[in-house]
Amino acid sequence: MIASLHHGGSRERPVAQVPKPVILLLLIGLGLQVVWHHWRPAPTATASALPYAPPADVLSVASLGDAIAFSRILNLWLQMYDNQPGISIPFRELDYARVTSWLQASLTLDPRGHYPLLAAVRLYGEVPDPERQEQMLEFTYEKFLEAPLERWPWMAHAILIARHRLENFELALKYANALADKAIGPQVPHWVQQMSIFVLEDMGETEAAGILIGGLLESGRITDPQEFSFLSDRLNLLAESGQSGDER
């Protein structure tokens, strides 16, 4: 059969040389296999619960010395967990403590990787469930504090989610203050420091926002004339609105 492809027709004996019982066994075996498969219950899709991530030591051994590649595989595996064979599980039904343990494991394997933080903020943090969203934002906050200069973009995302999705201004301010205090360096743009000002404005804390802008302008860190002008205008507007508020 398959051998004929390898040896060529000349080296094969004719099919007539095959005893009839062998051909009969072949046909019966094939028929029985098809009937058996048809008779057996069809495979059913069962959603398996997401387990907790194993300890970092185990994952390190399992990575066979290539922690970064293994971390990437973990990211994709976790990301695809909602789509197990034949079944689709909404993210909101996942146990977020377990999701966090996997994101943490991935970051432990590859601390320079941004994938787990992006997944935390933009994937798992987008579910319409405030409790789960806050879990993801807190995870991002904790990881931001470990490496603020590398992870500030995800903290900025977290502020936007806290402010616009959760409408939790206290939380947004906490994150914005952390961003302003910790993410200071040549690779971090100035608007990052200014996020707390806008959150304060949204909260109606115009005086505090004005103090922050004034401090920022006096610090000498704003060197771009356009940016300086924008913030000065903003400070004037806040001062005007504060005065009109006092007059009323």
């Binding site: 051998a3 005893p19 072949l26 094939l30």
Partner: protein, 264 residues
Amino acid sequence: MSIETMRHKFGPVAVIARYTALEAFRTRYIWLVVALLLAGLGIALFIGDLAITETRQTQAAITAALLRFAAVLLVILFVTTSVHRDFSDKSVEMMLSLPLPRAGYYLGKLFGYALVAALTAAPLSGLLMFFAPAEAGLIWGLSLLLELVLVCALSLLFAFTFNQITGAISATLLFYLLGRSIAAIQLMAHGPLTNQAQTSTQITTGLVDGLAYLLPDLDQFSRSAWLVYPSGSTGDLVPLLVQTMIYVALLSAVALFDLYRKNF
């Protein structure tokens, strides 16, 4: 059929089976099984140190999965290299020159390799009984034996079919892995993400379904769930036994078809 006739007919088959099994000792295959056993024990103890809860279950599940795959690999390598050696040193031609049908030679080899499979599965099953209930370990071991017998027949077929060891081992491994994952592939093909309105998807799904009809349900064999959540019973082995018998018969028929057409 008298006992004398049976002895005359099946005597050579038993002799070939005996010498095939003896080859496992002569080529020090058995020492590899012992090494695998020790490695399995080491892995289980190492996992026991790492696990913070459900230690026994974690040890049993991970060790069983690793041992099963290692045992399958060992059996594939043993059968393929053994058949290749028979062809290289012309012992096949010598045996076929005797008054022995080709089917007799094939059955002798198959029974011999099945004995080797039993020698491989038994100690591994015994090891797992330390980390899981004895009955669960026994059911897992018997299931592993059936799986290894199926792998023996598969390796034998591809060893006869392909002239090169690399080709034979690769084909056997691919077939085995496909057999283990076909149920998951079938579920994904029918899953919610596939657009069954598209012709290309319908063709792919049809191909996968057709393939599933021709492959054994290997994912049903040697399940870790038996060891972790002792829910298995000997009744679970019946469908596996039937599947093994059907598929070994089918693989034997294909292998014999090839063997009878071979020119030596």
